[in-house]
Symmetry: none
Subunit: 218 residues, 4 copies
DNA sequence: CATGAATGAGACTTCATTCAT
DNA sequence: TATGAATGAAGTCTCATTCAT
């Protein structure tokens, strides 16, 4: 999930926005953020397709047309939302992972990170886990590559751990990555759909780490 | 996932269909199945919203209107599809689980069952994991209860295993259930979206079982 | 203005229509014609851009969506209209012109034909002369080639007449073609916009022929 | 095409502009001209409806809103453009025609004038001949009266020439006017759409005059 | 039972115009 | 005067659903 792959998708609009941001904030530089944040709420409540652009506009307190000053289309809005949030995850990964020395510490960090990203942002959790899967094009053309890169990063941690003898070698690193991601996703999904208790995800992170590491011990 | 919860949603059409099935096969009793099977293929390729009813009709070789002789709506078609396939899973669970004596055996059975259901039916895998999440109403009103029942069943296996001392007691049974389901779902998702190798799911089932049971050992 | 160039533009819809027509008239095989004829009236009154698709639908007594069963888009509707009517002109040209032996007779025939096509169809006259020029894309991509072919045909008549000594040789055949077409178009335009008297175009045709032939005498 | 008919349409803006012009050039008096000249270019390239006000603003190097300091609306901009250029034609007619003594000289003058106006201004030629026809309201409410006045002026030349025996009397003066205008328009149209050769229009003017006068000889 | 032409509600998006700065 | 971000009305087109045959 390299930086370059992330910046690959750049609409005319977002390029314009960047120029605008670089030139310093204009009168309503926060409008883009207001729209994004309204979109998280509305998408989470109704799903991508059932959400009308006018719903988001109303929730953001702007006119329908204003949406299109900041995003190319409804789909671009969802993608931007996704990117915006995935960016945080990636930055965090690039900064924190190298500091950990053992595979165990790294897996724990990934787990805490992925769940922690959502902690306190129930709507975002639902968008990321459920809504993004609603646009097949988005899923296949955009999410899939990033998704693979993310899985690859996890698999590499496992594979390195196996080489160093820290983890058992009789399981496929990629399977572990897929299962780990799925477990995290499943926890987030049920957390988002059910009662999202305060601090629940943190406890879940600790327990999942514990099970996974015990299960992967040589 | 009790029988009663399953029969909660019963449209006029599905009730009629059941009566018909009970009365034995009619001349065009297979048309319903032809439509369902076409729907699996088309939904899997294009997603729920991007699929037009006329696409399914064409794939099934029937007229658009014919769909509405067997299903109330496009959404009813998806729900019926889901029910039809989940039914197999439930029957299997009710028959096989009681035969297993240890928690380990039961968890292994659940894992093999859930993945085995999809093995050889790539399209169905995609529908179940991705497409079903596209209709928020379906997800929240229909799937959620069944989903909970399914998770509860897994959690009970864990909880029983903890009471008997077979499994470690310091993790939440529900968390284990959610993580297990998620791991299975994640494996199925990546299998469906990526290269679905022959026999891959069977191997995955064995490895996941091994990790999970080792991780849950007291 | 060869046959092949005419059939070059064939939308999915029109191809479907042809198949349908070939297979014999369905229940409402005349609906396409009803829409076309309504379109002539409404386009003539309001122009291409100011006309809403729903206006045409109302005038034709069909639902908005029905338009799209027969035409790909609003623009396709205009193009189809144009083609449909130009076809008559071309058929006539291919059949009648070869029968005439002198350049004078041929020019007279062209003049009578172009104006006669519109006689009794005031709306069509306006569509052809005014409305078609409203869609620049249509004008440049579609009309221009056919237009050139039409002008070429007239120019050839002149050029042949010059070679045979029947017409004066000191004027450019293409200029004569452009001026003749323009004169006819101008007459049609003012006839359409003003009081379109019965028989006026026939008289106009005779007078224009007379002036043109006298002007071109060697 | 009397002066009074020309001043019939006078928006608040144009009245203000006239006052300004009468008072002598202001600092930004050229901005209006910059906008008009940009409008000619953009209208000619894309047509009236396909042209966005913002396109013109960009081409003129002003902000969108600035357009509305000089013109009431997009349509007013087109009308102003038309008036501005037609003004030249009218001034010329009022000054030059009375100097000519014969009908032949007058017709030649009209022809040279109408084509000469466009010579060297290909964009303007396209605007006048094609684009102006795109706004039906403009065509019917504004252009038609001026158009009639212009045709009347030509018809009067013919009619006078018939009375003096200089031109044949068996053709309708109005028909001649309409055909002459049409021929000129047709030449300008094809010149604008095709390869606009240098000097082409001047040659065309001479040939057309020659044909027309020979055709109208008694 | 089956058909598929017809319907029409509703969504996304554009763009002329305004107005606070 | 000049700006350009914001507005919101309005239009094209899609597609689930119906119903006459």
């Amino acid at each position: 999930m390299s930086e370059s792959s992330l910046s690959a998708r750049k609409s005319a609009k977002s390029r314009r926005d960047e120029a605008r941001r670089a030139a310093g904030p204009r009168r309503s530089g926060d409008k883009r953020e207001r729209i994004l944040s309204a979109a998280v709420r509305v998408f989470a409540r109704s799903g991508f397709f059932a959400t009308r652009v006018s719903d988001i506009a109303k929730a953001a307190g702007v006119a329908d047309g204003t949406i299109y000053l900041y995003f190319d289309s409804k789909e671009d809005l969802l993608v931007s939302l996704f990117e915006d949030r995935v960016d945080r995850l990636l930055s965090y990964m690039r900064e924190e992972l190298p500091k950990k020395k053992t595979a165990a510490d790294r897996l724990e960090a990934v787990i805490e990170m992925q769940l922690g990203l959502l902690e306190g942002e129930r709507d975002l959790a639902e968008v990321v886990t459920v809504i993004v899967r609603q646009s097949t094009r988005l899923m296949k053309e955009y999410a899939a590559p990033h998704f693979s890169a993310y899985l690859d990063a996890i698999a590499r941690i496992v594979s390195d751990g196996q080489k160093s003898g820290e983890l058992r070698a009789d399981v496929s690193p990629h399977l572990v990555a897929r299962a780990t991601f799925g477990a995290l996703d499943g926890i987030a999904l049920t957390w988002a759909l059910g009662r999202a208790e305060e601090g629940g995800l943190k406890r879940a992170a600790r327990q999942l780490s514990s099970i996974l590491l015990a299960g992967l011990a040589p």
